[in-house]
């Protein structure tokens, strides 16, 4: 009755979106002007052409805003501005590093499909129910992806096999899809099994009482996915993120006693596989070198491949990108060199893995801190929706917790790698990094969050 007397308005969201659009447009124009200036041309004629991409971005953000408006809900006005501000930072930086072509690719392959998927979820929130009902086929497809990638995948310049290329279509990175399908599967599994704590069948081995066989499924699933990722794709980042997600979702879903058992089983399985791998198979040299480079990026120790010296030191090889990242961050200082006035091109993979370092160089630590705060606000808002859901909606709650943890751990791992406070692993920074498929999945996740958030409105207060 409190709500019904007022017409739902989303004023603060609209206001914030106006300002995030302003930031996108201003940033884009500054990059375009600086690019012309570097070549000694007059910047003015190039500016009108640089208006279209940020305007598209703002139009997309306002599209989602209008979609929420048509649902007549007032709830959750923070997520959308936060996401659109992050998207603005990402797009401006990709334009700076990869030029108009790279930014355009990001828009057509990631932003537009992602916005369409997100608005579909916002306008038809019952799609979440559809996902719940069809979890098994969806996650089966999701789990096929790493296998398909392992077989048909394209090896990129870092030696990791992450992208799937089918026919004439552009190669797509599958790792985000795999993570989202793990989240969906675990949410479904825990929703189905988690409540039936009393009176379930157990295996009894003497005094050791284990849960029924089906409680091993998540552990086995995770271990096999992780092994596949590690062995076939040399993708250590995926293993780390999957591990985080697995532990976080089991912890959120099961009561403590059951969590300890199930996570313990998963841990023991993982240790067994690790032992087998350690004896039967060389740890990929990529991972060894990354760890050595983390300990000392400037080390002059020679790296070895399969026991043979290569004549390349760590400082020249795997440490190089970390050095460049650190140099870039230091060069940026507090306020940055100014958009277009730094030299982030020295950082390898500046637009995808190291985009945080590129942002820090040109916009400074001041904006870097804002980005981290934005991610924290995003995580808090997602978890808030998850916790306020009515009792009984376990699937939706766990789905949201998984999505929030997915976004946040990616940021954590990648920012940690960029600042060299943890070993570098190649994952994307959500909403910022170049990579169409990843951005699409991240926007889809935001669509799911906003679809589920609408349920809070109809809850009797």
């Amino acid at each position: 009755m409190y709500r019904a007397s007022q017409r739902p308005s989303r004023q603060s969201e609209a206001l914030l979106l106006v300002f995030t659009s302003l930031i996108a447009i201003l940033g884009y124009l500054m990059v375009a002007a600086a690019a012309q200036l570097r070549q000694g041309f007059d910047p003015l004629p190039a500016l009108p052409a640089a208006l279209l991409p940020p305007l598209l971005l703002s139009a997309g953000a306002f599209g989602l805003h209008i979609a929420m408006r048509t649902r007549r809900v007032e709830v959750e006005q923070i997520v959308l501005p936060v996401v659109s501000l992050l998207l603005a930072f990402g797009l401006v930086t990709i334009f700076r590093l990869r030029g108009a072509e790279g930014a355009w690719q990001q828009i057509t392959r990631g932003l537009l499909p992602g916005l369409i998927l997100a608005s579909a979820f916002i306008l038809r929130p019952q799609l979440v129910e559809f996902v719940r009902r069809w979890t098994l086929p969806i996650s089966a497809i999701g789990l096929m992806l790493p296998i398909a990638t392992a077989i048909f995948g394209v090896v990129d310049e870092t030696g990791a096999r992450l992208a799937l290329k089918l026919g004439p279509l552009p190669a797509i990175q599958t790792s985000e899809m795999i993570k989202l399908s793990l989240v969906i599967f675990l949410a479904w599994f825990i929703d189905r099994e988690g409540e039936q704590v009393e009176g379930r069948a157990r295996i009894v081995l003497g005094r050791l009482r284990l849960p029924a066989v089906r409680y091993f499924i998540p552990g086995i699933l995770f271990v096999s996915m992780a092994t596949l990722a590690l062995v076939q794709m040399s993708d250590f980042g995926a293993v780390l993120i999957l591990g985080f997600l697995f532990a976080a979702m089991l912890y959120a879903g099961f009561e403590t006693r059951l969590f300890t058992t199930i996570a313990g089983i998963g841990l023991i399985l993982a240790l067994l596989v690790a032992l087998v791998l350690a004896f039967s198979w060389d740890i990929p040299t990529v991972i060894q070198h990354r760890f050595a480079a983390f300990l000392d990026p400037w080390s002059i120790a020679e790296i070895q491949v399969n026991g043979r010296p290569t004549g390349i030191t760590i400082a020249e090889g795997p440490g190089y990108q970390i050095q460049q990242s650190i140099y870039a961050i230091v060069a940026g200082g507090l306020a940055g060199a100014g958009l277009g006035f730094g030299s982030p091109d020295y950082i390898p993979l500046a637009a995808s893995d190291f985009i945080f370092a590129a942002i820090l160089e040109e916009l400074g630590a001041a904006v870097g801190i804002v980005i981290l705060v934005l991610f924290i606000i995003l995580l808090m808002r997602i978890l808030r929706v998850a916790l306020l859901l009515p009792r009984g909606q376990v699937f939706e709650r766990l789905l949201l917790i998984g999505i929030g943890m997915h976004l946040f751990t990616q940021v954590f791992v990648m920012v940690g790698g960029t600042l060299n406070i943890m070993p570098l692993t190649g994952v994307t920074v959500p909403f910022l990094s170049q990579g169409g498929a990843a951005l699409m999945i991240n926007l889809l996740e935001i669509g799911i969050v906003l679809a589920v958030a609408q349920r809070l409105e109809t809850r009797p207060i």
Binding site: Y2, F19, I78, L85, G338
Partner: protein
């Protein structure tokens, strides 16, 4: 405009951009604060159907409750961990069908349904399967959870 002037303009714009970003962050935090206070206001405005509400003082190990939450009571309200109770409380030490609260038109009564760890009114244990008076403002304890009865 010559190129040097452009250079100066872009360096000035850098500070404008940073200022704008921080302004948006400020707006975001204000919106965040407003939304939080709106939500708290809403729970204060809510009108109970019958003259009885339980305020959670200590949520125990029930993850769905927070201290300060208000539970609205119906004239006959049962609680416990099982799903077909009127109020489901998942505290570790609450039984499946723990107790029920009844309104007789003037007073609230508590009946312990034979719970394992008992129900306490102002820290005095209730006799199982017997109706006992629950005065307004008194503390009701079940498991680790403590409630205060509000009128």
């Amino acid at each position: 405009m010559d190129l040097l002037a452009w250079n100066t303009l872009l360096f000035a714009l850098k500070w404008v951009l940073i200022g704008l970003i921080y302004f948006v962050l400020l707006l975001l935090l204000l919106a965040l604060r407003r939304e939080v206070s709106l939500q708290m206001g809403a729970s204060r405005i809510s009108v109970p159907v019958v003259p009885g509400r339980l305020k959670i003082i200590n949520p125990g190990s029930d993850l769905n409750s927070r201290a300060g939450d208000i539970l609205n009571l119906q004239p006959d309200t049962s609680f416990g961990t099982e799903v077909n109770n009127d109020i489901i409380l998942k505290d570790k030490y609450i039984s499946r069908y723990h107790a029920r609260l009844q309104w007789d038109g003037a007073n609230w009564w508590v009946e312990d349904l034979g719970s394992r760890n008992g129900t306490f009114i102002n820290q005095i244990r209730c006799t199982p399967k017997t109706r006992q008076l629950l005065p307004i403002g008194s503390h009701l304890q079940a498991g680790d959870m403590i409630f205060e009865l509000l009128d």
